[in-house]
């Protein structure tokens, strides 16, 4: 069987689901952040796959580059926030950070 577009899409779908599960179920903030990275990687695989097989050509690559830039930015900001949360609460459990509820 020749490796085609759908194979890559299925891999990205699985990767996406893994990231999503991490985002939803993990209580450690850094694990949530890792889940987001997985989701973004899954998206990038899709972009590149469509660039190769779906006629997006070089625009797919550019879009992927912007996604990577955003991922880097988001990681930096998110880690800074996590450090702040840690200083404040002495832990990083996202489901216990609910002061804004009230």
């Amino acid at each position: 069987m020749h490796i085609g577009l759908v194979h890559y899409l299925v891999v990205s779908a699985l990767l996406f689901s893994m990231g999503l599960f991490a985002i939803i179920s993990r209580k450690h903030a850094i694990l949530v952040l890792m889940g987001i990275e997985l989701v973004l990687n899954a998206a990038n695989i899709n972009f590149i796959a469509f660039a190769k097989y779906g006629g997006m050509n070089i625009e797919g690559h550019v879009a992927a580059i912007f996604v990577i830039i955003l991922a880097a930015t988001e990681a930096a900001i998110a880690l800074a926030i996590i450090l702040n949360i840690y200083q404040h609460f002495r832990h990083v459990n996202v489901d216990e950070v609910d002061d804004l509820k009230e």
């Binding site: 577009l5 996406f16 689901s17 990275e37 990687n41 796959a49 690559h61 930096a76």
Partner: protein, 167 residues
Amino acid sequence: MDLITITFYFLATLTIVFSGIVVFSKNIMHSAFALLFTLFGVAGLYVLLSADFLAITQLMLYIGGILVLIIFGVVLTSRITGIDVRAGSLGKIQLFAAVIITVVIAASLIWMFKSTKWYMAEMKEVNSTVRQIGNELLTNYLLAFEAASMLLLLAIVGAALIARKKH
């Protein structure tokens, strides 16, 4: 089974398995190192898709930058790195809901990807994508490029501002 097919399956398995370790590991340090392999696998997939520049970028940025940041974060925030990080405070209900939703979404996505009749157009064979990407970024995507650079600058300043110690 040609070499490309074998390589693809190897890299796909590598990616999926290690992402599973990232998600399900009890130890956050293990998750972090598993993420390294996942990202590495994704970079390999980029090579298979003949995206040479992106593969290099993936290695440099994700593995050399983001992953190091994440490991720093883990080290800085977890005094005891061995605690179980899996269960949310909602406990079984949340876990159950998460599993259901994840499975449903995964099934839906796979079903969609397989059932959709995609427009297919083979990419032109090129030696390197770097020149083309550079052209695109500084012509058609110049505004986005500048906005991204401004975003990075702001992120650096903002991160430094947020993370520094309050007096």
